[in-house]
């Protein structure tokens, strides 16, 4: 599959009816708006951007962090230029406003769905399904939102591989926040792998590369114990040597002393 890189202002098509995402039409011709990869889908010419902020759209599932609790809303940071509003009425039970911080307080993370975005970019949030997914354990890792599709992989291939290889539970939000949970060293390894995915997002065969990466990291972990023993041994040999050289210094000092 040949991926065509386009940059802003590149001519994509002469047929203005085919204009898709990330393009604009001028004089009946389609041009690119972004640095990205050209995508030809369903008679549309679009551009998949390779950088950029997360802009919420309806039915995205995101991970939000509470930044303000108002009497009727939780205001959420959703890793976007726009804050999200989660209204109390969206919560399954009725809560008095003074009890709101008990349910969720500033700093709490939760998985939410974007219910509505209006033209002035007021983002309304709702629960993903009827369940209230407050994240109590685990870790939230952030990747660039444009690289979220690579974390998921073709038909979820990457994410299922990651789950299997690291024994972690993973949830990927559209906004680039990724929640992972598992044993500490597994989570550490997984966040390393996620960094790697982010850095090498444009490579082909990424899933295999990450698989190899995880394998090598694992085997390295196993090797690390004898290596540590080795290091401590080395320290021991060095300590007497140090006193040794000091002795030599003293002797030389004595020899160099003009008074002698």
């Amino acid at each position: 599959m040949e991926k065509k890189i386009v940059i802003p202002g590149d001519l994509l098509s002469e047929n203005s009816k085919k204009a898709g995402y990330g393009t604009y039409v001028k004089n009946d011709k389609i041009y690119s708006l972004f640095c990205g990869i050209e995508s030809l889908k369903e008679d549309k010419v679009g551009v998949i951007p390779l950088a950029g902020a997360y802009i919420p759209s309806v039915n995205d599932v995101v991970i939000g962090i509470v930044i303000v609790v108002t009497p009727s809303n939780w205001i959420m940071d959703i890793a976007s230029p726009y804050d999200g509003l989660f209204h109390v009425s969206e919560y399954p039970r009725r809560i008095e406003s003074q009890n709101m911080p008990e349910v969720m307080d500033v700093g709490d993370s939760i998985i939410l769905r974007v219910k509505d975005v209006d033209s002035s970019m007021k983002v309304e949030l709702a629960l993903r399904d009827s369940n209230f997914y407050k994240l109590k354990t685990g870790l939230v890792v952030k990747v660039e939102p444009v690289k979220v599709p690579r974390v998921i992989g073709h038909g979820g291939s990457m994410i299922s591989m990651l789950k299997k290889e690291t024994n972690c539970s993973i949830f990927v939000g559209q906004n680039g926040r990724i929640w992972i949970d598992g044993r500490d060293e597994d989570m550490e390894l997984l966040s390393k792998a996620l960094r790697k995915i982010e850095a090498e997002a444009q490579r082909s065969g990424l899933t295999d590369r990450i698989y190899n990466f995880l394998k090598s990291e694992r085997s390295k972990k196993k090797e690390s114990r004898p290596a540590k023993y080795f290091k401590s041994k080395k320290k021991e040999t060095k300590l007497p040597k140090e006193s040794h050289s000091e002795e030599i210094y003293r002797k030389i000092d004595v020899l160099l002393d003009p008074k002698n």
Partner: protein, 367 residues
């Protein structure tokens, strides 16, 4: 102060820096140099050195600046106090405020601000070294940084100046030509040739302006090509995380070749970093040998010292001993550092690079 050269253009049509009238200065561009910024660009154009960071779209503060229908674009042109011969007073000046305004307006027609209402797109331009034509260079760099930040644009903006020097119309003035020339005329345009910035300083006739415009169009076309190739190259080459390289090497050698080669292709700097890491890794694996090596050496030294003690004090022998001593010291310090390095994996390769010099200087002091 008046060190005006007699002639800014020689009889055979060459300028002070050896260019012809219609040539631009050499340009060097690096993308993504700042990790905190959403998009960034470092540009060298002749002796101009410019760093641009782009942030956004992000929440606009203070909120009264927000626009309900579009993003606000903010452009800050700033000259470093060391960017010119006489120290420039830090902070905004009449000149920098003006340049910020006209440069912002040069970008407003191409940035799709209406896609991001209530946000701000910030462009910060720092002139590190100025050599005439900084506003045009800054616009060229900003254009790339904006594309790098993933901000939707109808196209790139390119900018170039023409001027009149020794009665002749020339492209892309340098410092001397700007200072002693008769006119300077910066222009910025979109890739379709629509003018988004136009300023003039000096005196020109309409014919001269027409002639200059032909030059500027040619210059901007050249610059656009440079910008486009640099951007394409950046996004085509897979982004490499230098730290990740050696890790993969340990286990599978097959992917090693595949990994190192493309990175060498796209950035010599990255290759250099990789090399240092490799070296560091190699050294890390070795120290045990070095330690065993240094121990007998130390014994030898002791013998030398003993001999020197027993025999009549011979200055030369001592000197030798000291030399050998300092050498050993250096090696020792190195291995010691490596031990620390090995213990603390989070420390980067620079530690290893830095340390031999340190131990070396310590040796000198001992002498």
């Amino acid at each position: 102060m008046n060190d005006k050269p007699n002639k800014l253009i020689t009889d055979d049509g060459l300028r002070l820096d050896g260019r012809r009238a219609d040539e631009i200065r050499p340009m060097k561009i690096e993308i993504g140099v700042l990790s905190r910024a959403d998009g960034s660009c470092y540009l060298e154009w002749g002796r101009n050195k410019i760093l641009v960071g782009v942030f956004g779209p992000r929440e606009a503060h203070p909120r009264r600046l927000q626009r309900a229908d579009a993003a606000v674009i903010r452009y800050r042109y700033n000259m470093a106090s060391f960017s010119v011969e006489d120290r420039a007073r830090p902070g905004p000046s009449r000149r920098s405020i003006e340049i910020s305004k006209v440069s912002r307006e040069a970008f407003e027609p191409v940035i799709m601000a209406e896609l991001y209402p209530k946000t701000a797109i910030d462009i910060f331009v720092e002139i590190l070294q100025a050599d005439a034509g900084t506003r045009t260079a800054a616009i060229n760099a900003s254009s790339i940084a904006l594309a790098d930040a993933g901000i939707p644009m109808k196209g790139l903006v390119t900018s170039c100046a023409f001027g009149k020097v020794d009665g002749q119309i020339v492209l892309d003035l340098n410092k001397e030509e700007d200072n002693y020339g008769e006119a300077d005329f910066p222009v910025a345009m979109t890739q379709d040739g629509e003018i988004t910035l136009l300023q003039m300083d000096g005196h020109l006739t309409p014919e001269e302006i027409k002639k200059g415009f032909e030059l500027v169009k040619k210059g901007c076309k050249e610059i656009l090509e440079i910008q486009q190739t640099v951007l394409r190259k950046k996004f085509e080459t897979p982004v490499e995380e230098p730290e990740a390289e050696p890790e993969a090497k340990i286990v599978d050698t097959e992917s090693e070749a595949a990994e190192t080669e493309p990175s060498l292709e796209y950035a010599p700097e990255a290759a250099a970093v990789e090399e240092t890491i490799e070296e560091a890794e190699e050294l890390e694996a070795e120290p045990s040998e070095e330690v065993t090596e240094t121990v007998p050496e130390a014994e030898e030294l002791e013998e030398i010292v003993k001999e020197a003690e027993v025999e009549v004090v011979d200055g030369e022998a001592i000197e030798e001993a000291i030399e050998a001593e300092t050498e050993e010291e250096a090696i020792e310090a190195e291995t010691e550092e490596e031990a620390i390095e090995a213990e603390d994996e989070s420390k980067g390769p620079w530690k290893v690079v830095k340390d031999p010099s340190e131990s070396g200087s310590r040796g000198e002091n001992d002498e």
